[in-house]
Symmetry: C2
Subunit: 142 residues, 2 copies
DNA sequence: TATTGTTATACTCTATAACTATA
DNA sequence: TATAGTTATAGAGTATAACAATA
Protein backbone atom coordinates (compact mmCIF):
# COMPACT_ATOMS: atom_id res chain seq x y z
CA UNK A 1 0.00 0.00 0.00
CA UNK A 2 1.30 3.40 -1.04
CA UNK A 3 2.31 6.03 1.52
CA UNK A 4 -0.22 8.74 2.34
CA UNK A 5 0.61 12.39 2.87
CA UNK A 6 -1.00 13.25 6.21
CA UNK A 7 1.12 16.31 6.92
CA UNK A 8 -1.78 18.74 7.02
CA UNK A 9 -3.80 16.69 9.51
CA UNK A 10 -0.67 16.01 11.52
CA UNK A 11 -0.21 19.75 11.92
CA UNK A 12 -3.55 19.98 13.69
CA UNK A 13 -3.82 19.79 17.46
CA UNK A 14 -7.22 18.10 17.47
CA UNK A 15 -6.06 15.33 15.16
CA UNK A 16 -3.02 14.62 17.30
CA UNK A 17 -4.94 14.72 20.56
CA UNK A 18 -7.58 12.36 19.19
CA UNK A 19 -5.05 9.88 17.78
CA UNK A 20 -3.10 9.85 21.04
CA UNK A 21 -6.19 9.46 23.17
CA UNK A 22 -7.44 6.57 20.99
CA UNK A 23 -4.14 4.73 21.37
CA UNK A 24 -4.02 5.24 25.13
CA UNK A 25 -7.68 4.33 25.51
CA UNK A 26 -7.27 1.14 23.49
CA UNK A 27 -4.34 0.12 25.64
CA UNK A 28 -6.34 0.92 28.76
CA UNK A 29 -9.40 -1.07 27.70
CA UNK A 30 -7.27 -4.08 26.84
CA UNK A 31 -5.37 -4.02 30.12
CA UNK A 32 -8.46 -3.32 32.21
CA UNK A 33 -10.34 -6.34 30.83
CA UNK A 34 -9.34 -8.34 33.93
CA UNK A 35 -11.49 -6.01 36.00
CA UNK A 36 -14.31 -5.83 33.45
CA UNK A 37 -14.17 -2.04 33.70
CA UNK A 38 -14.52 0.42 30.84
CA UNK A 39 -12.78 3.79 31.04
CA UNK A 40 -15.92 5.49 32.31
CA UNK A 41 -16.68 2.75 34.83
CA UNK A 42 -13.15 3.14 36.14
CA UNK A 43 -13.47 6.92 36.34
CA UNK A 44 -16.74 6.64 38.25
CA UNK A 45 -15.32 4.18 40.78
CA UNK A 46 -12.16 6.23 41.25
CA UNK A 47 -14.14 9.44 41.77
CA UNK A 48 -16.44 7.74 44.28
CA UNK A 49 -13.40 6.35 46.08
CA UNK A 50 -11.82 9.78 46.49
CA UNK A 51 -15.15 11.55 47.02
CA UNK A 52 -17.38 9.35 49.18
CA UNK A 53 -20.97 10.53 48.98
CA UNK A 54 -20.52 12.15 45.56
CA UNK A 55 -23.77 12.64 43.63
CA UNK A 56 -24.71 11.74 40.06
CA UNK A 57 -24.76 15.39 39.22
CA UNK A 58 -21.18 15.85 40.38
CA UNK A 59 -20.10 12.81 38.39
CA UNK A 60 -21.69 14.35 35.32
CA UNK A 61 -19.82 17.61 35.78
CA UNK A 62 -16.49 15.93 36.52
CA UNK A 63 -16.64 13.53 33.58
CA UNK A 64 -18.64 15.53 31.01
CA UNK A 65 -21.36 12.94 30.80
CA UNK A 66 -25.13 13.49 30.87
CA UNK A 67 -27.49 12.57 33.72
CA UNK A 68 -29.56 10.00 31.78
CA UNK A 69 -26.40 8.14 30.82
CA UNK A 70 -25.07 7.90 34.36
CA UNK A 71 -28.09 5.93 35.55
CA UNK A 72 -27.31 2.64 33.83
CA UNK A 73 -23.64 3.08 34.60
CA UNK A 74 -24.20 3.36 38.34
CA UNK A 75 -26.92 0.70 38.36
CA UNK A 76 -24.58 -1.82 36.76
CA UNK A 77 -21.82 -1.10 39.27
CA UNK A 78 -24.35 -1.31 42.10
CA UNK A 79 -25.64 -4.64 40.81
CA UNK A 80 -22.07 -5.97 40.79
CA UNK A 81 -21.92 -5.04 44.46
CA UNK A 82 -19.18 -2.46 43.95
CA UNK A 83 -21.02 0.66 45.09
CA UNK A 84 -24.05 1.63 47.13
CA UNK A 85 -26.54 4.48 46.99
CA UNK A 86 -27.29 6.18 50.29
CA UNK A 87 -29.71 9.04 50.96
CA UNK A 88 -27.96 12.41 50.89
CA UNK A 89 -27.64 13.92 54.40
CA UNK A 90 -28.75 17.47 53.50
CA UNK A 91 -30.68 17.12 50.22
CA UNK A 92 -33.65 14.80 49.93
CA UNK A 93 -33.51 14.83 46.15
CA UNK A 94 -29.92 13.68 45.87
CA UNK A 95 -28.33 10.29 46.40
CA UNK A 96 -24.78 9.89 47.69
CA UNK A 97 -22.59 7.20 46.17
CA UNK A 98 -20.23 5.08 48.28
CA UNK A 99 -17.95 2.12 47.57
CA UNK A 100 -18.72 -1.21 49.20
CA UNK A 101 -15.84 -3.13 50.77
CA UNK A 102 -15.57 -5.18 47.58
CA UNK A 103 -15.68 -1.96 45.55
CA UNK A 104 -12.91 -0.44 47.63
CA UNK A 105 -10.70 -3.49 47.10
CA UNK A 106 -11.36 -3.69 43.38
CA UNK A 107 -10.99 0.05 42.78
CA UNK A 108 -7.68 0.18 44.65
CA UNK A 109 -6.37 -2.71 42.53
CA UNK A 110 -7.75 -1.14 39.35
CA UNK A 111 -6.04 2.15 40.14
CA UNK A 112 -2.73 0.34 40.58
CA UNK A 113 -3.27 -1.41 37.28
CA UNK A 114 -4.18 1.91 35.64
CA UNK A 115 -0.92 3.41 36.80
CA UNK A 116 0.99 0.43 35.39
CA UNK A 117 -0.82 0.80 32.04
CA UNK A 118 -0.05 4.50 32.17
CA UNK A 119 3.65 3.76 32.39
CA UNK A 120 3.41 1.41 29.42
CA UNK A 121 1.44 3.92 27.34
CA UNK A 122 4.00 6.63 28.10
CA UNK A 123 6.98 4.35 27.55
CA UNK A 124 8.35 6.64 24.82
CA UNK A 125 8.31 9.63 27.15
CA UNK A 126 10.71 10.40 29.94
CA UNK A 127 9.44 11.79 33.25
CA UNK A 128 9.99 15.39 32.22
CA UNK A 129 8.23 14.95 28.86
CA UNK A 130 5.29 13.34 30.55
CA UNK A 131 4.92 16.13 33.06
CA UNK A 132 5.12 18.70 30.29
CA UNK A 133 2.53 16.84 28.21
CA UNK A 134 0.06 16.78 31.11
CA UNK A 135 0.56 20.46 31.82
CA UNK A 136 0.02 21.47 28.19
CA UNK A 137 -3.07 19.28 27.79
CA UNK A 138 -4.58 20.83 30.89
CA UNK A 139 -3.83 24.28 29.51
CA UNK A 140 -6.00 23.35 26.54
CA UNK A 141 -9.06 22.04 28.36
CA UNK A 142 -9.11 23.85 31.69
CA UNK B 1 -22.32 22.22 44.14
CA UNK B 2 -19.38 21.01 46.19
CA UNK B 3 -15.89 20.70 44.74
CA UNK B 4 -14.79 17.28 43.57
CA UNK B 5 -11.32 15.83 44.08
CA UNK B 6 -10.25 14.70 40.61
CA UNK B 7 -6.53 14.64 41.33
CA UNK B 8 -6.08 10.95 40.63
CA UNK B 9 -7.77 11.10 37.23
CA UNK B 10 -5.96 14.31 36.42
CA UNK B 11 -2.66 12.51 36.96
CA UNK B 12 -3.53 10.10 34.14
CA UNK B 13 -2.41 10.72 30.60
CA UNK B 14 -5.45 9.11 29.00
CA UNK B 15 -7.88 11.24 31.00
CA UNK B 16 -6.07 14.44 30.06
CA UNK B 17 -5.76 13.51 26.40
CA UNK B 18 -9.46 12.61 26.20
CA UNK B 19 -10.60 15.81 27.94
CA UNK B 20 -8.42 17.97 25.72
CA UNK B 21 -9.51 16.21 22.56
CA UNK B 22 -13.19 16.56 23.53
CA UNK B 23 -12.79 20.31 24.06
CA UNK B 24 -10.94 20.80 20.78
CA UNK B 25 -13.39 18.58 18.91
CA UNK B 26 -16.39 20.46 20.30
CA UNK B 27 -14.90 23.74 19.23
CA UNK B 28 -14.14 22.29 15.81
CA UNK B 29 -17.64 20.91 15.25
CA UNK B 30 -19.19 24.22 16.25
CA UNK B 31 -16.98 26.28 13.97
CA UNK B 32 -17.23 23.85 11.08
CA UNK B 33 -21.04 23.94 11.05
CA UNK B 34 -20.93 26.49 8.21
CA UNK B 35 -19.45 23.82 5.98
CA UNK B 36 -21.68 21.03 7.30
CA UNK B 37 -18.58 18.92 7.86
CA UNK B 38 -17.91 16.64 10.81
CA UNK B 39 -14.32 16.01 11.92
CA UNK B 40 -14.11 12.79 9.93
CA UNK B 41 -15.70 14.32 6.81
CA UNK B 42 -13.13 17.07 7.00
CA UNK B 43 -10.27 14.59 7.44
CA UNK B 44 -11.44 12.59 4.44
CA UNK B 45 -11.71 15.63 2.18
CA UNK B 46 -8.33 16.95 3.30
CA UNK B 47 -6.64 13.60 2.73
CA UNK B 48 -8.21 13.29 -0.74
CA UNK B 49 -7.08 16.81 -1.52
CA UNK B 50 -3.45 16.08 -0.66
CA UNK B 51 -3.57 12.53 -2.03
CA UNK B 52 -5.63 12.51 -5.24
CA UNK B 53 -6.62 8.97 -6.14
CA UNK B 54 -6.38 7.71 -2.56
CA UNK B 55 -8.36 4.52 -1.89
CA UNK B 56 -10.86 3.67 0.85
CA UNK B 57 -8.35 1.29 2.32
CA UNK B 58 -5.75 4.02 2.63
CA UNK B 59 -8.30 6.31 4.27
CA UNK B 60 -9.06 3.57 6.78
CA UNK B 61 -5.39 3.16 7.66
CA UNK B 62 -4.73 6.89 7.89
CA UNK B 63 -7.76 7.65 10.05
CA UNK B 64 -8.17 4.44 12.05
CA UNK B 65 -11.66 3.83 10.76
CA UNK B 66 -13.12 0.59 9.45
CA UNK B 67 -13.97 -0.18 5.80
CA UNK B 68 -17.74 -0.60 6.31
CA UNK B 69 -17.93 2.79 7.98
CA UNK B 70 -16.15 4.63 5.19
CA UNK B 71 -18.76 3.68 2.61
CA UNK B 72 -21.58 5.93 3.82
CA UNK B 73 -19.08 8.67 4.56
CA UNK B 74 -17.76 8.76 1.00
CA UNK B 75 -21.20 8.22 -0.54
CA UNK B 76 -22.57 11.26 1.28
CA UNK B 77 -19.67 13.47 0.15
CA UNK B 78 -20.08 12.14 -3.39
CA UNK B 79 -23.80 12.89 -3.33
CA UNK B 80 -23.02 16.46 -2.27
CA UNK B 81 -20.87 16.71 -5.38
CA UNK B 82 -17.65 17.20 -3.40
CA UNK B 83 -15.76 14.12 -4.51
CA UNK B 84 -15.79 11.55 -7.29
CA UNK B 85 -14.91 7.87 -7.54
CA UNK B 86 -12.75 6.89 -10.48
CA UNK B 87 -11.52 3.43 -11.44
CA UNK B 88 -8.03 2.76 -10.12
CA UNK B 89 -5.42 2.76 -12.92
CA UNK B 90 -3.58 -0.39 -11.85
CA UNK B 91 -6.02 -2.30 -9.64
CA UNK B 92 -9.46 -3.28 -10.89
CA UNK B 93 -10.75 -3.89 -7.39
CA UNK B 94 -9.87 -0.48 -6.03
CA UNK B 95 -11.50 2.89 -6.54
CA UNK B 96 -9.54 6.15 -6.49
CA UNK B 97 -11.06 9.19 -4.82
CA UNK B 98 -10.74 12.68 -6.29
CA UNK B 99 -12.13 16.09 -5.36
CA UNK B 100 -14.51 17.81 -7.75
CA UNK B 101 -13.97 21.49 -8.50
CA UNK B 102 -16.59 22.32 -5.88
CA UNK B 103 -14.90 19.93 -3.46
CA UNK B 104 -11.53 21.57 -4.05
CA UNK B 105 -12.99 25.01 -3.35
CA UNK B 106 -14.85 23.90 -0.23
CA UNK B 107 -11.98 21.84 1.16
CA UNK B 108 -9.52 24.69 0.71
CA UNK B 109 -11.86 27.04 2.56
CA UNK B 110 -12.53 24.43 5.25
CA UNK B 111 -8.80 23.94 5.79
CA UNK B 112 -8.36 27.68 6.28
CA UNK B 113 -11.23 27.68 8.74
CA UNK B 114 -9.71 24.67 10.52
CA UNK B 115 -6.46 26.53 10.96
CA UNK B 116 -8.31 29.52 12.39
CA UNK B 117 -10.20 27.26 14.82
CA UNK B 118 -6.88 25.65 15.70
CA UNK B 119 -5.49 29.01 16.73
CA UNK B 120 -8.54 29.68 18.90
CA UNK B 121 -8.36 26.25 20.53
CA UNK B 122 -4.67 26.75 21.30
CA UNK B 123 -5.14 30.33 22.49
CA UNK B 124 -3.67 29.49 25.90
CA UNK B 125 -0.51 28.09 24.33
CA UNK B 126 2.36 30.03 22.82
CA UNK B 127 4.01 28.85 19.61
CA UNK B 128 6.69 26.92 21.43
CA UNK B 129 4.21 25.18 23.75
CA UNK B 130 2.08 24.17 20.82
CA UNK B 131 4.98 22.68 18.93
CA UNK B 132 6.06 20.78 22.02
CA UNK B 133 2.54 19.48 22.61
CA UNK B 134 2.29 18.16 19.04
CA UNK B 135 5.67 16.46 19.28
CA UNK B 136 4.85 14.76 22.58
CA UNK B 137 1.42 13.60 21.39
CA UNK B 138 3.00 12.07 18.29
CA UNK B 139 5.54 10.32 20.49
CA UNK B 140 2.62 8.63 22.21
CA UNK B 141 0.70 7.39 19.18
CA UNK B 142 3.30 6.90 16.46
C1' DT C 1 -39.47 28.25 39.90
C1' DA C 2 -35.17 25.37 39.89
C1' DT C 3 -32.74 21.08 40.64
C1' DT C 4 -31.93 15.73 41.30
C1' DG C 5 -32.64 11.59 39.53
C1' DT C 6 -35.09 8.95 36.34
C1' DT C 7 -37.49 6.84 32.00
C1' DA C 8 -37.98 6.50 27.28
C1' DT C 9 -36.06 7.24 23.11
C1' DA C 10 -33.26 8.60 19.14
C1' DC C 11 -29.14 9.47 16.89
C1' DT C 12 -24.30 8.84 16.03
C1' DC C 13 -20.11 6.14 16.16
C1' DT C 14 -17.91 1.96 16.00
C1' DA C 15 -17.54 -3.10 15.32
C1' DT C 16 -18.34 -7.93 13.15
C1' DA C 17 -19.79 -11.27 9.66
C1' DA C 18 -20.49 -12.33 5.12
C1' DC C 19 -20.77 -11.41 0.15
C1' DT C 20 -18.64 -9.90 -4.86
C1' DA C 21 -15.17 -8.97 -7.89
C1' DT C 22 -10.76 -8.67 -8.81
C1' DA C 23 -5.66 -9.95 -7.90
C1' DT D 1 -5.61 -17.55 -1.30
C1' DA D 2 -5.71 -12.83 -0.35
C1' DT D 3 -7.43 -8.03 -0.91
C1' DA D 4 -10.86 -3.84 -2.08
C1' DG D 5 -15.20 -2.49 -1.65
C1' DT D 6 -19.67 -3.36 -0.12
C1' DT D 7 -24.07 -4.80 2.60
C1' DA D 8 -26.44 -5.75 6.67
C1' DT D 9 -26.50 -5.53 11.32
C1' DA D 10 -25.31 -5.14 16.14
C1' DG D 11 -23.47 -2.75 19.88
C1' DA D 12 -21.46 1.39 22.30
C1' DG D 13 -21.66 6.00 23.23
C1' DT D 14 -24.10 10.26 23.39
C1' DA D 15 -28.17 13.31 22.87
C1' DT D 16 -33.04 15.47 23.91
C1' DA D 17 -37.70 15.62 26.03
C1' DA D 18 -40.52 14.83 29.74
C1' DC D 19 -41.76 13.34 34.43
C1' DA D 20 -41.88 12.79 39.90
C1' DA D 21 -39.89 14.20 44.12
C1' DT D 22 -37.69 17.72 46.60
C1' DA D 23 -35.59 22.38 47.29
Amino acid sequence: MQAVDSRFLESMLGYNARRASLVILGHFVEGMADFALGPVDFSVLSLVRHNPGITSRQLCAALSILPPNVVGLVSALEQRGLLKRKPHPHDGRAVGLHLSAAGETLTKAAEAKAEALENEAAANLNASDRKTLMRLLQKVYL
